[in-house]
């Protein structure tokens, strides 16, 4: 196809949009390792902002990792069997369950958090612990895990595989662990990656649920944006990006493999 003026106009527009999305990312990466951002890069590179962030906020990083991993584990144990149940059963009850599980995607985190606080905020042991945030994260990410596994189950003929195994004498649990789980592997992995990424970056719920002693990384970020100098905020953002980028790249790689799943 001949590339005319219209091609270059559209290319320029597309590049402009990409620049809009990517320039701030690069700016905050460079600002995080620049001695003095107001002078610019010529003031030299430094790691001291990163060190300062580590001193001030390393506990938020560990807590975020801990919550993200435990949330993922919960989603695995709760979400995968549930997705199988939903794929297997067509009843009014399963439609209701599906709706209940999907709703937290549609309802802003703020509302879910308010509900959790009004019901369970009075139990101060729970309110003060990181488990309170964990509950919010599980509610918020579980639908993504379930949908991701369900999409794979609906695209393969798992009943046929299962009948084959059953006719050879495989029990219910044998079929579940040796037929269903291995066949949903891509869905499970992409659900896990999504859970990790969403949990690590969750702010709307977490801001309402956190206490001064249970701060996660995004909560710390909001804190640093409000009170720290730009270089420290940038260095902190840099650490956050460093944490989620590998997950994003892994997810993209998984999605670009021949068998596409949406």
């Amino acid at each position: 196809m001949k590339k005319g003026v219209s091609f270059y106009l559209q290319l320029a527009f597309t590049l402009l949009v990409c620049a809009f999305l990517i320039v701030p990312v690069f700016m905050s990466i460079t600002a995080g390792v620049t001695n003095n951002y107001f002078i610019g890069i010529k003031s030299g590179f430094t790691l001291r902002w990163l060190e300062q962030v580590w001193e001030l906020y390393s506990d938020t990083i560990w807590l975020t990792l801990q919550i993200a991993l435990v949330t993922t584990a919960f989603n695995l144990f709760i979400g995968v069997p549930c997705a199988y149940y939903l794929a297997r059963t067509k009843s009014r009850f399963s439609a209701f369950l599906d709706e209940c599980l999907t709703l937290p995607i549609a309802i802003p985190g703020m509302a879910i958090a308010l509900g959790l606080i009004t019901v369970y905020g009075g139990f101060s042991n729970l309110r003060m612990s990181w488990l309170f945030i964990l509950i919010g994260h599980v509610i918020f990410t579980l639908p993504f895990m379930v949908k991701s596994v369900l999409a794979v189950l609906q695209s393969i003929n798992f009943r046929l595989l299962e009948e084959g195994a059953a006719s050879l004498g495989a029990s219910f649990w044998q079929r579940f662990f040796h037929i269903i789980v291995p066949n949903c592997k891509t869905g499970i992995i992409s659900g896990m990656l999504m859970t990790l990424t969403l949990s690590a970056g969750e702010f709307n719920l977490t801001w309402m649920l956190h206490t001064p002693l249970t701060k996660t990384l995004p909560v710390g970020l909001a804190d640093s944006y409000a009170s720290m100098r730009l270089e420290v905020s940038s260095a902190y953002t840099l650490i956050f990006l460093g944490m989620i980028m590998p997950l994003l790249i892994a997810a993209q790689w998984l999605n670009s493999k021949p068998k596409r799943m949406t």
């Binding site: 590049l15 949009v17 990409c18 059963t89 549609a106 703020m110 702010f203 909001a222 944006y225 953002t237």
Partner: protein, 270 residues
């Protein structure tokens, strides 16, 4: 009978979690919002200027963001599916990364772009000799919301456009349609379900975006900020509950439109 009970076992953990930590809290919110003088809070939303203004400005802002990002994303998405060129996959990757950035980080990016030391400030200094600081106004919010909306629509447009039947375009062309006629009569109608679905997701996400508004701390009271203030500063739980249920209803409604159009749930950031 034994067989089906095993299937039920599989979903019991999910059911318990969903009932205790989602449905029960939502019921409690509903009760809170209605218990105070038979739900007078809902009446206040419609009659008291602070709440009404917050609701209306959030609706208008979200609508503007949605329309703008649908237009921008359609141009970009169609371009990226139509042409092959070097570095295209890199551009597509760049367009999809921002999907999962949390709202707070996007707020910070807006500060980087349009804050006191941002790109726009430098540009303004260069062009007219004064720093353009837009980040802390409604324009800052607009920029931030665009940031998380554009990727979502671009990816949807690309997904639909890839499946577009090229024969239709060829048929149109052979019948003498020009570029605009083709776009208006062939391409856009084919994209319509995708645009409606991703547009509604954008709208819902913008309505509920708390992190971006929180970081920018603008004087504009968008709905999630109003809820936050009502709950934490004014301790007006009935009002906070009523507002968040209303917000939840609007976003749920938008996402069910998206679902009916066959859109996948891309989740909500902001």
């Amino acid at each position: 009978m034994h067989k089906s009970s095993q299937y039920y076992l599989l979903m019991i953990p999910a059911l318990i979690i969903s009932l205790t930590f989602f449905l029960l809290p939502m019921m409690k919110l509903l009760w809170l919002s209605l218990a105070d003088q038979y739900g007078i809070s809902y009446w206040y939303i419609l009659t008291k200027p602070i709440y009404l203004k917050s609701v209306l400005s959030t609706l208008i802002l979200s609508l503007t963001v949605t329309i703008t990002s649908v237009i921008i994303a359609t141009i970009v998405g169609l371009f990226l599916t139509r042409y092959e060129f070097k570095g295209k996959s890199l551009l597509v990757a760049m367009l999809s990364f921002p999907l999962v950035f949390p709202g707070v980080v996007i707020g910070f990016f807006v500060i980087m772009l349009a804050g006191r030391q941002g790109v726009f400030a430098e540009l303004g200094l260069l062009l007219v000799g004064e720093r353009w600081t837009l980040a802390y106004s409604i324009i800052g919010l607009f920029i931030g919301y665009l940031y998380f909306s554009i990727p979502r629509v671009v990816l949807t447009v690309m997904g639909v456009a890839e499946k577009l039947d090229n024969n239709l375009v060829e048929a149109g062309r052979s019948l003498g349609a020009n570029r605009w006629q083709l776009l208006r009569d062939v391409t856009l109608p084919a994209l319509k379900p995708g645009l409606i679905s991703s547009g509604s997701i954008c709208f819902a996400t913008s309505m509920g975006a708390f992190g971006t508004a929180f970081t920018l701390a603008t004087n504009l009271n968008v709905l999630p900020m109003t809820i936050y203030t009502e709950f934490t500063l004014n301790a007006n739980f009935a009002m906070a509950a009523a507002l968040s249920l209303m917000l939840g209803f609007i976003t749920w409604f938008c996402l069910s439109i998206a679902r009916r159009q066959g859109g996948s749930n891309l989740g909500m950031g902001g």
